[in-house]
Structures are given as structure tokens and as C-alpha cells.
């Protein structure tokens, strides 16, 4: 992992985390929503998002000299890797929530509901995650390029 992949990937993770907080807090339901997650699950979920995002970002910038100003094709790569990022995050979310249910309330997770959930996550949910991930990836790539333009002015 390059220093640039680490910086951009962590920036993307922090920006998405902050954006979700800014959107959720003024509505007033944030405390209840967070309380439904155990602390361990919440931390594991964030670490999963962080790891996946740094990986996807590092792959999307591989072979490009962004710091040197060669950014041709970055948006196309960000679209593709952003979509994969969204998909992997959804699958991590589903797996962690199922694991939390298995650990905290063993025996309450019925095979039928597990199959139904897996079907939804693997089908419609995956399509939605791909689309959201692609749009977020595209938006973050534009912010990265704006940041790079400012960086060129600074150094």
C-alpha cells in the first residue's frame, strides 16, 4: 500500500463517516440507531469499511502518477472500484449483523430468514450497493482531483 493510497483511502472513509453523521444527527434518530449496534459490531463495521476503502482506493490509483498530475482515467477507475467498495461493504455489513445476532441471541436466527436475507443482499441489495458505491466513488474522485489541484498550488 502506497502513502497516497493510505491518505486518499482514509480520507474517503472519514469523509463518508462524517457525511453519514451530518445527515443522521439533525434528524434526531442517530442515538437509537447506534444503540441497536453493539460497540464491537460498530467498531468491526468501521474497520471493515476502512480496510475495504483503502484497498479499493489503492487499486484505483495503481499505475497513475496523481501527485505528478497524471490523472487520466481516474474517474473511470473510481467508478469501477467505488462500485466494488459499496458491494464489499454491504456484504461485510450483512455478515457482521448476522454474526452479532448469532452471538448475542443464539438460536433466534432462523434458516429461512437467513436465506431470505442472503437472497436480498445478494440480489437487489448488491445492485443498490454497486450503484451507490459507484456514485460515491465518482464524487470522491472529483474531490481528490480538486485536492490535487490545491496541492500543486501549495507545493
Amino acid at each position: 500500500m502506497s502513502a497516497l493510497g493510505w491518505v486518499l483511502g482514509t480520507f474517503h472513509t472519514a469523509a463518508v463517516g462524517l457525511a453519514l453523521l451530518v445527515l443522521a444527527y439533525p434528524g434526531g434518530g442517530l442515538g437509537v440507531a447506534l444503540a441497536s449496534l453493539s460497540t464491537i459490531t460498530g467498531l468491526a463495521l468501521f474497520i471493515a469499511l476502512w480496510g475495504i476503502t483503502v484497498f479499493a482506493t489503492s487499486r484505483s490509483i495503481r499505475g497513475l502518477d496523481l501527485v505528478g498530475g497524471a490523472a487520466a482515467g481516474y474517474h473511470r477507475r473510481a467508478l469501477r472500484w467505488g462500485a466494488l467498495n459499496g458491494l464489499l461493504f454491504l456484504w461485510s455489513l450483512a455478515a457482521l449483523l448476522a454474526l452479532q445476532q448469532l452471538i448475542t441471541a443464539p438460536g433466534t436466527l432462523q434458516p429461512q430468514s437467513l436465506l431470505l436475507g442472503a437472497g436480498f443482499v445478494g440480489g437487489l441489495g448488491s445492485l443498490f450497493a454497486l450503484a451507490v458505491g459507484a456514485v460515491v466513488g465518482l464524487a470522491l474522485a472529483s474531490i481528490d482531483l480538486a485536492g490535487l489541484a490545491l496541492a500543486r498550488w501549495m507545493a
Binding site: 491518505v7 472519514a14 463517516g17 453523521l21 490545491l150 496541492a151
Partner: protein, 142 residues
């Protein structure tokens, strides 16, 4: 580890990450004003890697701290809520300033001969972090 112990670990991690980000920013700011550019860039590159580790930990543990409130999380219209929203705005500003700063430092490391405006960008970073720390103390102690 029970819930309260875990919440305490999360809180300690939050404070430690803030100490690393703020303390590091103060150190690099001080070095940038005292030393020639070429001697500061190496330290700045290390700081940038540490800064983003701290930023990730701060967001992660910050959400964890909010989760510890549960349904008792103060409303956005309360004094605590307004201070918290001000803190979120400053954090957004910190991220907006930090992305080009980090990229500029990586660029300066790759191009040793080019000039770099390290003094104003690190001074600004340290000032924003001081504001966030002041608001955080207000949120924690009322």
C-alpha cells in the same frame, strides 16, 4: 470485557488519537517555522501517515462514543447538540484542509527542489485542531 470497560477503551483511544494529531501538528508547525524546508518534509511525510491513522481512529471512536449515549443522545437543538454540530463543521473543515496538505507534502517529498508552503498549512491545521479540542472538552465536561 464488559460494555463499560469497552466504552472506556474507546474513549481513551479517541483522546490518544487526538493527542497524536494535535501534538504532531504543533510539532511540525514549530519545525516548519524554525528549520529549512528540506529538513521538515521528511518529518511532515511521517506526520501525514500518522495524521490519517489518527483521523480514522477519531471518526471510528467518535461514532462509538455517540453510540454509548444510546437513546439519551442530546437533541440537535440543545446546547450540547449545537456545540456538537459546530464540532462536526470544524472536523469537515479539517478534512477539507488536510487532503490538499497531505498531497502537497507527498508532492514536496517527490520534488525536493520545488518550494512548499508548509508554514501556513500546518499553522492552519494546528489552529483547527485546537478549536476541535476546545469544543470536545466542552462536550465532555459541559
Amino acid at each position: 470485557m464488559d460494555h463499560q470497560q469497552l466504552a472506556l477503551v474507546v474513549r481513551y483511544a479517541h483522546v490518544a488519537a487526538m493527542a497524536a494529531a494535535f501534538g504532531g501538528a504543533l510539532l511540525v508547525t514549530w519545525l516548519a517555522w524554525r528549520l529549512p524546508r528540506d529538513r521538515v518534509v521528511d518529518v511532515a511525510v511521517r506526520y501525514e501517515q500518522l495524521f490519517w491513522l489518527a483521523a480514522g481512529v477519531l471518526v471510528m471512536t467518535g461514532v462509538g462514543n455517540l453510540g454509548a449515549f444510546g437513546a439519551a443522545l442530546p437533541a440537535p437543538g440543545s446546547a450540547w447538540g449545537r456545540t456538537f454540530i459546530a464540532k462536526l463543521v470544524l472536523i469537515a473543515l479539517l478534512l477539507i484542509v488536510s487532503l490538499p496538505r497531505s498531497l502537497a507534502v507527498l508532492r514536496a517529498a517527490a520534488r525536493p527542489a520545488a518550494p512548499a508552503r508548509l508554514r501556513p498549512i500546518y499553522t492552519t491545521t494546528a489552529a483547527i485542531l485546537a478549536g476541535i479540542a476546545a469544543l470536545a472538552v466542552g462536550l465532555a465536561h459541559g
